[in-house]
Symmetry: C2
Subunit: 226 residues, 2 copies
């Protein structure tokens, strides 16, 4: 590419990255608000999440369009091509995180109509971990930092263990006191939504490693590499 | 592109499509086997799904590589560009369907250690619908058939309604007889995995519509179109 085209490409790529970070911030806020609504039993916060996904959805479409424009007009190769295809995938992951925040808010709304099952300790912890994973994965994308991306991958096991712990605890509650069945079910669903947010952060981290190093770390792909 | 390059591009695109169909067939089989394992209480079928995701994972990596090669070497534009970016996304969706088949098999394994909760009617129905949606979505991709893709989108509401029905029925079972709590929980999780398979088919159908018509039907994007 001539110098001017390179500059123009870089500017558009920077704008795309800024949009992805904006979307990541919105998705993270929605998750935070949904879990705050759970802990504080705050119906206004539930409504805010249920009706507030417009900006994320608009960014989802805008970012996809920008990716297509960059691919079609600049025909990038190597790391630039991988960066844009990664942006397409990250965009999908962030949109799903926004959807999961809505799913959490729906479960919170049902939960709020029931007596509380137990003190909420593990679900806020899961939320903190999932959010940190998401933030770190996007940071790793911006800084092209594979070490940080690998730390995100390691965090996923912690989240998974907490999900299993939450499931066991709530199953015990349900068996001990059947009046907790319905609210405990909602907490189990919420913990699964949080685990899936961690999965999306993991996807992003894997994309970052591929973008930077052209190495596919999914499914231990290295084993199949020549 | 010169004629020869066009032919070469088309050949590679056909190979890519064949791989996606192969992957779709494997993912569909895995879902089918996992639910058959549930209905027939067949531990060998559970094991087959739990240990059988290698081919899907290898195709996932192979298809991604093909997409990058097509983008980098042929620098496609317009519908060809949209077809390849769609293939990247469809590849991700199909890999997740494979993961969901594994998740179903894990729940089936736990369920098999418990007394059965009730006759399984809605879950096999959900399976049939989710599989038909997946097959139709891939068919729509191959034939670039937006009418078929739109039929897939309509099916998603049926699946969603069944999921809600399953949830209500099983909640009633749990409340009526607490000894069903644990197995009923597994059936609820299975129905949610099936619903998510329908979501992936929906994603594919939306990609097909975008690929063919360059119209984004997600989030009622048409409202925001000029």
């Amino acid at each position: 590419m001539p110098d001017r085209a390179v500059r123009h490409f870089q500017e558009e790529l920077d704008q795309l990255t800024a949009r992805l970070l904006e979307m990541g911030g919105l998705a993270e806020d929605a998750v935070q608000t949904a879990v705050r609504a759970l802990v504080e039993r705050d119906p206004a916060a539930v409504d805010a999440v249920l009706t507030g996904d417009g900006p994320i959805n608009r960014l989802h479409i805008d970012i996809d369009r920008r990716c297509f424009r960059l691919l079609a007009l600049h025909q990038p190769v190597a790391v630039d091509l991988r960066a844009i295809v990664s942006a397409v995938k990250i965009n999908t992951d962030l949109e799903r995180v926004g959807d999961l925040a809505v799913n959490i808010a729906e479960a919170v709304r049902r939960y709020a109509g029931q007596p509380p099952v137990k003190d909420l300790i593990d679900i806020p912890r899961m939320t903190d971990i999932a959010q940190a994973m998401l933030r770190d994965a996007l940071d790793a994308f911006v800084r092209r930092d594979t070490a940080l991306a690998r730390r995100v991958l390691n965090q996923d096991d912690t989240l998974d263990a907490l999900k299993t712990q939450v499931f066991r605890d709530l199953l015990a509650c349900m068996l001990a006191d059947p009046s907790t069945i319905q609210p405990a079910l909602d907490l189990i669903l919420i913990s699964r939504h949080l685990e899936r947010i961690g999965d999306h952060a993991t996807n992003i981290a894997e994309d970052v490693i591929f973008m930077v190093s052209a190495r596919d770390v999914r499914h231990h792909a290295a084993e199949a590499d020549p």
